[in-house]
Symmetry: C2
Subunit: 305 residues, 2 copies
């Protein structure tokens, strides 16, 4: 029996609940504020936002939307059809401490005219300061989750993330990448059950990974200069999301709920003309590592584990 | 005898010099930093940036670029041809004082395959706090400049600005508009000389207008709360520029000089989930007036002068 869209949507809501619970346990004393919303043309969502002391600004969004979309919108995505159904969970956390990384996770399911379907999603990490041990930990965990489902996944999805989370006008990656995947269907060697199991694992591993990364950083002292750098890095995040992210652009151009889409924006961002980093600084180290194709798992030792 | 592209380019550089001189006279003790740059495929520019005490972040850019552009880039602008020449002056100032308005001005000249040409440009104002007297002053001056050249200009170019400087996903205008024009050629009732005279006037009136507006605001005391609001408004400015401004998008997608293009970005910008203004506050007044079609010249009195 095939997995229905209702089952997927319900499970996505459970994953949203699970993640919010885990994050509230990290950011003690702060709770998510929930907004339920409806989409005029069909469906709706529940947007949950937090402004905490560990996470300065974060959001965990669930949505389930359906109906007819303008052909133009689909054409831009290379999709043929009329009636669509889409459900997903989408997350961005901007930590207060500049030593902590920004994280993004998204899992989604799409149906077209009832007979075409696919899963998509990803996790990527944007440290303000790249910590190579955390980068290795992050990618090692993503590889484990991938390998559990297919040994072909990690390399392919890591490369996809490097290419997706890229800022062409800066010739920089957004951060240290992660995994990105789309159009995962059952036309090849995977069943719908297998795809679905993978997508759920991505959602469920997310709070474990972020807990590990942020707990190690949330209480490290920091300087005003480091906050300034954090705000420059957040500026790049804003540039990527507004100018290049296909998901954000699709949402803003098709009349999606703006506050839910732009939940991803940083609390603060800074720009100055032609900002330069100090040679040999940790800022320079980070800047030099905003590149595609770095093997983060083996980066520190230079040899295969 | 027709006005050559060399004449226009030279005059644009004089206008850049003139504006920078005027602004340095306002922001005493601060100077523009100049970067000369060359474009690999042809041409170059001089970018001038200031970080002053009146203008927290500003730029005055001149460029003259030419060569062949990818057909894709032209197609997106609806332009047919191969060889192009483009020169222009482009300005954005972000004042330090939240009571002062952000201003943008651009004048440009475009040639295609040697036989097609047109002028474009505009000025628009984005107050953090709308001051209806300043709004009237601003639009009255734009109308004067327009009327000097054609009584058809102001109404048409004001409406064009309302439509151009619009943030669809916020259902808000960027600010109080101004004038915007493009494809001004000699195929109708205007000569090239007449178009050129108008464009020069737009460039030359800019520092006079901004001097008046900013001098009245630069020394008004302000609170942290007002700076916070300024940063929210700057966030909207960033959203418009990165997600909607055709000039910015064209530049970023065709490999323009990023630091010159993004000179327009605010020094700082703030986002929080679903930010609301206090009822009956001056923030609420401003928010309520981010609309197309307001007759700013007659807004305060409600009657024709």
């Amino acid at each position: 029996m095939s997995i229905s869209k209702e089952t997927i949507s319900k499970r996505f809501q459970e994953i949203q609940d699970h993640i919010c619970g885990q994050i509230e346990a990290i950011d003690k004393g702060h709770r998510f504020k929930e907004d339920l919303w409806q989409r005029e043309a069909g469906g709706g969502g529940r947007t949950r936002a937090i402004e905490g002391s560990v996470i300065e600004k974060g959001g965990v969004n669930f949505s389930e939307v359906y109906g007819k979309l303008p052909k133009q919108a689909f054409k831009s995505l290379g999709i043929e059809g009329e009636e669509f159904f889409a459900t997903g969970v989408s997350i961005v956390f901007h930590p207060k401490n500049p030593h902590g990384p920004i994280i993004h996770m998204n899992i989604r399911y799409f149906e077209m005219d009832g007979d075409q379907w696919w899963f998509g999603g990803g996790i990527d990490l944007t440290p303000h300061y790249i910590d190579i041990d955390q980068a290795a930990y992050f990618h090692r965990n993503l590889r484990s989750i991938c390998n559990k489902h297919s040994i072909t996944y990690y390399d392919k999805f890591k490369e996809w993330a490097d290419n997706y989370f890229y800022i062409p006008h800066r010739k920089e990656t957004r951060g240290i990448g992660g995994i990105f995947f789309d159009r995962l269907d059952d036309k090849g060697s995977f069943s719908k059950e297998a795809r679905w199991a993978f997508v759920q694992d991505v959602g469920m591993v997310f709070p474990i990974i972020y807990n590990e990364l942020i707990s190690a950083k949330a209480n490290i002292p920091y300087t005003d200069k480091q906050v300034e750098w954090q705000n420059y890095r957040r500026g790049r995040y804003a540039e990527f999301n507004l100018a290049w992210d296909r998901g954000t652009k699709f949402g803003l151009h098709t009349g999606g709920r703006t506050e839910s889409i732009l939940m991803s924006m940083p609390p603060l961002a800074k720009w100055s003309y032609d900002h330069q980093v100090e040679p040999n600084s940790s800022e320079a180290f980070t800047k030099a590592h905003l590149k595609k194709g770095i093997d983060w798992i083996n980066y520190s030792t230079g040899k295969e584990e």
